[in-house]
């Protein structure tokens, strides 16, 4: 089932509608739960796509390349792809951060915090935020990639659903501002992720990506809190 606006939702998401079209679509979204739901899904598809990891080749391609370009392959080089893959596996959410003692923790309510473990002094930026209350903490260090990815994605999805369900009660300007800023953060996340893909062991890029993801969750929480409780 679709209406004339369903097919324009991707363009809306990517900021490609004219002002007039955008205003009309936003007015439509106020009253069309289905389109709102589709929009939330599309946003999640995009977010999921941006979080996809790249997989290294199963074996080293360099010898074949070297031969074709006429390079002298001197002494036999054995590249430890195991360790490279290990680094790659950690690059998304728990790379050297885990080795450095920072745990990416997912708390109830979808908040993601960066905490320094005791004794780690010289890591930046120190974004330690003391959670209030008694949150249920899932230490993602046990199965970093699986749990952390899923936890973050689930938290983002939860908050986006709250926002989608309440968008009819929020001012359209507010919604647009929030969505534009979410898009800005998503772009920053994508850029950081691409940079990290090329340099998985870079500590700055790892913490920068995690911090930017935290900013996204912060903004989503802030936006969700604007939705009146019914």
């Amino acid at each position: 089932m679709s209406d004339q606006w369903t097919n324009r939702l991707s363009e809306y998401l990517d900021g490609e509608l004219t002002d007039g079209e955008r205003i009309a679509l936003e007015a439509h979204l106020q009253s069309c739960g289905e389109c709102s739901s589709v929009l939330t899904d599309l946003r999640q598809v995009v977010a999921r796509a941006r979080m996809l990891e790249h997989e290294a080749p199963h074996h080293d391609l360099w010898p074949g390349i070297a031969q074709r370009i006429g390079a002298t392959v001197g002494e036999t080089r054995t590249v430890d792809l195991g360790s490279r893959r290990a680094a790659r596996r950690w690059s998304f959410s728990l790379p050297q951060l885990a080795a450095a003692g920072i745990a990416l923790m997912t708390l109830s309510g979808g908040a993601v915090w960066l905490l320094h473990s005791p004794g780690q002094q010289n890591l930046a930026p120190p974004s330690a935020i003391v959670p209030s209350g008694n949150p249920r903490a899932i230490n993602a260090a046990v199965n970093p990639r699986g749990n952390a990815t899923q936890s973050y994605a689930a938290a983002v999805a939860d908050l986006e659903r709250v926002l989608a369900s309440g968008r009819g009660q929020l001012d359209t300007t507010t919604i647009r501002v929030i969505e534009q800023n979410l898009a800005a953060i998503d772009r920053a996340i994508a850029q950081a992720q691409r940079a990290l893909d090329a340099d998985p062991a870079n500590l700055y890029l790892n913490t920068h990506l995690a911090e930017t993801m935290r900013r996204k969750l912060d903004l989503l929480r802030q936006a969700a809190a604007l939705v009146p409780v019914t």
């Binding site: 598809v45 996809l52 390349i65």
Partner: protein, 190 residues
Amino acid sequence: MNELGLEAATLEHAQTGRTDPDAVDATLAASGDASAFERLYRNHVTRVYGLVRRMLSDDDADEVAQDIFVRAWQKLGTFRGEAAFGTWLHRLAVNVILARRETLGTRRKRYLEGDAVLEMIPARRPGPEMAMDFETAMARLPEGAREVFVLHDVEGYRHEEIAEMLGLATGTSKSQLHRARMALRQHLGR
């Protein structure tokens, strides 16, 4: 401590992020330094390989990834350093992939219109590995929709760039992207 001995001046470029080690290696490699080119390969192979896998298939990935680096070695003289090396390499990779597809002789209509895209991926119950299910669904998208989706949402290209690379109208790129996204939303794994 190493005092650089600079007066009120910019820190020597050698220490700044601007001196992109890749650009340095590209210059060395262009003059025949294979070790420098190997460093470039090590830094970028994962991303190139990922692009090949998603745009083509697992079967061809090794061979096409090698082709890309060999082509990059041949074309190093054209890398001017205006963009980051990774960006330049990425564009070259896309060109090689598209040329490869032509060589493989794909005959079927690439850019399906209507709801055909949606029908090609049956909805499945989400498994425990959400990411795997999503990737599998991506792999089952029709070629054209998958190409646009990978280039736009995974790799971050704009529609104008995608249209130019794939020889499409911008509108076609947008509609293919939307169809891919609509098909994939069933595989978010909630």
